[in-house]
């Protein structure tokens, strides 16, 4: 399984802070995103936002980054700390 977590505005808009996806056939962050976007029209719209950032196992990555069973994949808006 792959654990997927969401933060901030995205978490609120999805009304979901985390979920698990079966890891078969998921080899990249882009594929994880596509599976999530297929959940509903609203999810599709939210994941179409090109400014969303992704992290795998706490490391900021690009969409073509590889994912494996047991990974934690995170999606969130651009950061606004400090």
């Amino acid at each position: 399984m792959i654990k997927v977590v969401f933060f901030a505005a995205l978490r609120e808009q999805l009304n979901c802070s985390e979920l698990s996806l079966p890891s078969e056939h998921l080899t990249t962050v882009a594929q994880v995103k596509a599976v999530l976007a297929a959940k509903s029209e609203q999810w599709q719209q939210l994941f179409a936002n090109g400014s969303l950032l992704a992290a795998v196992n706490h490391q900021m990555v690009n969409n073509d980054f590889a994912v494996n069973a047991g990974d934690e994949v995170a999606f969130f808006p651009p950061v606004t700390g400090g």
Binding site: A74, G81, G82
Partner: protein
């Protein structure tokens, strides 16, 4: 306060004391003649709206790793001694302290530069998000392009 494996980093809901943090940076540290600190606070307005509070969310685990990586880059670029980064999370009100960055070095130039570098990178890399409560209601803040530009200068 969560247990952290990074003594230079603290993510906390509690307030911090500038005097206490400076004392820790200076304690038993006779080699560094420079101590540079930055404190960020909640402003009373943002983009023309009156702000009443901010709520800060973060990504536990990733936040600490991200800040540790920024500190380690600063140590590679400048000759610095001690570093401390504190970032508060949860609900904060006008005038409350949000963030602290303290850096020591033998001479002031390294501590000044490293301190600004750490803040600039924290702004664009560390997974914190601010939700603002103002007269207009609740609103997640958008990232500023100017912060990206600022960090790109290093």
């Amino acid at each position: 306060m969560p247990i952290t494996e990074h003594p230079e980093i603290s993510i906390q809901t509690a307030d911090f004391s500038l005097a206490d943090e400076v004392a820790l940076l200076e304690q038993d540290n006779a080699v560094d003649g420079a101590v540079v600190t930055f404190t960020g606070r909640v402003r009373n307005q943002n983009e023309g709206k009156s702000v009443t509070s901010l709520t800060l969310e973060h990504y536990p685990g990733m936040t600490e790793k991200s800040l540790a990586s920024i500190i380690s880059q600063a140590k590679q670029r400048w000759r610095i001694g001690r570093v401390k980064v504190i970032h508060r999370v949860g609900e904060l009100f006008i005038g409350d302290q949000i963030v602290f960055v303290g850096v020591t070095s033998k001479h002031r130039k390294d501590a000044y530069a490293a301190n600004e570098f750490i803040m600039d990178y924290l702004k664009i890399k560390a997974p914190f998000w601010k939700k603002e409560t103002s007269e207009a209601g609740e609103n997640w803040l958008d990232a500023k392009g100017s912060d990206e530009d600022k960090a790109a200068q290093w």
